[in-house]
């Protein structure tokens, strides 16, 4: 404690007598009062003092948390710690260190900064602040800044030690149940370190489809060249595209290989298993990066056989676990002409009180409720524009009971589709003529028993939408993704 309690100043400014006529006077009257100004290194026993007075010490102590904690520990419950420090605006008359009057001072103080140190040092609800303020009794504001100040020039603080309550401020996070264990990984902390990538020196590009496809891939091949200018690029194309590929000058080596027939309609398809074996025999080199530029998935098995540090393709890693760089483009719109526009959870639907919510589902059981004759669920009142839609409900029906569950789709009270599910809930197609609030409802069917069911919500698709990405753009995005992963950006090099 000797180090942290070294006295820094003496004289009339820190004499306890100088404070008795000011706002601290009522707090400095106890018999068991220790004035640290006289013997700062000799702290009394813990909990022994009614008053501990620490005038103009804290500002010179580096570890203020430790000092405040030790001083406060000397005070008995109901006792007080009185701390004063020079006021930055009255004594130092500066907003930043160093203090011209006391060059060794560690910090400047205002009431707020002194209080912040106390709140850092002492446990909440072990104390109460009884007085905090500026003590400027007799301060001469008429003096110039270069003249030593006259009068009191303190920030003063009075802290009472209280008996702490039994409760704490911590928010308890008591688990209601043990967490589920890992499914596919051991119960360890994963530690994944990402470091700067090794340079990409050898690249294999697969562009195995037809003439138009190759032409649409030229921007992606050019982008590969641009992002990896020092790399040796091998480009594998159908024999019909070999001459064109050489003509572009974008690859260092062009390898012809037919994964398909030249005209699949006229010539028929090829056996992809046999083609994959032939491909593996042809491309037996190793690469830093291999990219399959075909959007359709049928050439991905060829990519899977390439010996490459990074294999990049369109699709998800759920579909192709061997992909190191996967661009999961939703090709539904491009290939099927419809796209998902919304997912509705069961919580977005209202339900009758003869059904109940459990585990994210609205449930009905014949054991628990009599068969109702009104809507069981309804919602979500979501605005739909005119167009053709497909609704895919997530409903599990107990088909063994032989009942039926009626449904209808309503937009602003106009019924757009209706029917009944008995074994499973099939897709529901409907057309919206006028924009309005969309509602999907489930009902009992007259004359047939209502089976037990779980309703977990539904997914909504819009039909007839144009594809959002051109083939050329999709391939270029894949190359950009590979470059993002493998080429450090300017910020990351800094």
């Amino acid at each position: 404690m000797a180090e942290i309690l070294s006295p820094s100043t003496e004289g009339p400014l820190t004499s306890i007598e100088a404070y008795r006529d000011g706002p601290l006077g009522p707090y400095l009257t106890a018999k068991r009062l220790r004035d640290l100004n006289h013997a700062p290194d000799a702290l009394p026993a813990e909990g022994s003092q009614a008053v501990l007075f620490a005038p103009w010490l804290l500002q010179d102590i580096a570890d203020y948390r430790h000092a405040l904690r030790r001083w406060f520990a000397c005070v008995e419950e109901g006792g007080i710690l009185v701390v004063t420090v020079p006021h930055a605006f009255l004594h130092d008359r500066r907003a930043q260190l160093p203090s011209l009057l006391r060059p060794g001072q560690k910090r400047l103080y205002t009431p707020a900064s002194l209080l912040a140190e106390v709140e850092e040092a002492l446990a909440p609800n072990s104390y109460r602040i009884r007085w905090l303020g500026d003590d400027d009794a007799g301060y001469d504001y008429g003096l110039g800044r270069d003249t030593p100040p006259i009068g009191r020039q303190d920030v003063a603080l009075v802290i009472e030690r209280i008996h702490p309550p039994a409760w704490s401020l911590a928010v308890d996070k008591i688990p209601a149940e043990p967490p589920p264990g890992p499914i596919f990984e051991p119960a360890v902390t994963r530690i994944e370190r990402v470091t700067a990538q090794q340079p990409v020196r050898k690249i294999l590009l697969l562009k195995l489809d037809h003439l138009g496809d190759f032409i649409m891939s030229v921007p992606a091949i050019r982008a590969t060249r641009s992002h990896f200018p020092a790399a040796h690029v091998t480009l594998v194309v159908g024999t019909w595209n070999e001459a064109l590929a050489i003509e572009t000058g974008l690859a260092d080596r062009v390898v012809p290989f037919d994964a398909f027939s030249r005209n699949p309609v006229e010539d028929g398809g090829l056996d992809m298993v046999e083609r994959a074996e032939a491909f593996a025999a042809l491309i037996d080199d190793s690469f830093d990066l291999a990219i399959d530029l075909r959007t359709f998935a049928d050439t991905r098995p060829l990519l899977s056989q390439v010996d490459a540090t990074h294999r990049a393709g369109i699709g998800s890693r759920a579909m192709f676990p061997f992909l190191d760089i996967a661009l999961p483009v939703n090709l539904d719109a491009e290939q099927l002409g419809y796209a998902a526009i919304a997912n509705f959870e069961s919580a977005q639907f209202k339900h009758h009180d003869r059904t109940w919510c459990e585990d994210g589902a609205i449930r009905f059981s014949t054991d628990r409720a009599p068969q109702p004759r009104f809507a069981l669920t309804w919602g979500p009142y979501w605005r739909l524009e005119p167009g053709d839609y497909v609704l895919r409900p997530a409903i599990h029906i107990n088909s063994a009971q032989g009942g039926a569950l009626a449904f209808d789709v309503v937009v602003d009270e106009r019924v757009c589709a209706s029917g009944a599910f008995d074994v499973w809930a099939a897709d529901v197609e409907f057309r919206v003529e006028q924009a309005g609030a969309f509602e999907f409802r489930l009902w009992a069917v007259d004359g047939r028993p209502l089976p037990d069911f779980d309703f977990r919500g539904c997914r909504l698709f819009r039909k007839g939408v144009p594809g959002d990405l051109h083939q050329s753009e999709t391939q270029s995005l894949l190359v950009e993704l590979a470059a993002m992963r493998l080429v450090a950006g300017e910020d990351q090099r800094a």
Binding site: A62, D63, Y64, R65, H66, E117, E119, E120, A121, L122, A123, P124, V171, K173, I174, P175, A176, E177, P178, P179, P180, G181, P182, I183, F184, E185, P186, A187, V188, T189, R190, I191, E192, R193, V194, T195, A196, A488, D491, Q492, R493, A494
Partner: protein
């Protein structure tokens, strides 16, 4: 000597490693290493930051939470020897700027989608079957946010040591 910056708070407490774990980690760091630790955050996180720094020597663990503006914060992050944070903005900023970064990643989100990226980042996470849950508050988790609670301070400390040693390291797993 470059300081170590600790950013213990995010915008959602389900992404926050327990404060007691951060406290243990800071204790290990100042015992084993010479750097100063700076705790950062916004003013609304100040009360919790005071709880965090309370046990420590104020010359070794500096409470900057709520006390520095954006400019000061970015300067502190850019000048750090290492930044330790949750799945939150400061970890992303540090990683993006190439500052060695430790990210203690909770299970609420897909780490492959949301982890900080940069040339010198270590991401620590737990494999639990309930992840990703998409929950927004710790109170909503029935498992006491086990995905973060089970990441022990010793493991994070070892990762900090590895990162500060400059050893390039490789992806690995440890208990």
């Amino acid at each position: 000597m470059k300081p170590i910056v600790v950013a213990p708070f995010s915008n959602s407490d389900i992404r926050d490693w327990p404060l007691g774990h951060f406290q243990s980690l800071i204790g290990k760091l100042i015992e084993a290493r010479p750097e100063t630790v700076h705790v950062v955050g916004v003013p609304s996180q100040s009360i919790r930051a005071r709880d965090l720094v309370r046990p420590f020597d104020s010359t070794r663990v500096v409470n900057d939470c709520g006390r520095v503006g954006w400019e000061g914060l970015t300067r502190l992050v850019h000048g750090a020897g290492c930044v330790i944070g949750n799945n939150s903005g400061i970890a992303h900023l540090a990683a993006f700027r190439g500052v060695p970064t430790i990210c203690i990643f909770g299970g609420a989100h897909q780490r492959n989608e949301w982890k900080p990226i940069g040339p010198n980042v270590i991401v620590l996470s737990r494999a639990l079957a309930c992840s990703p849950c998409g929950l927004h508050t710790a109170a909503a988790c029935p498992f006491g946010v086990a995905c973060l609670d089970q990441i022990d301070p010793e493991t994070v400390f070892d990762s900090v040591q590895q990162l500060l040693s400059g050893f390039p390291g490789r992806a690995s797993a440890s208990a």
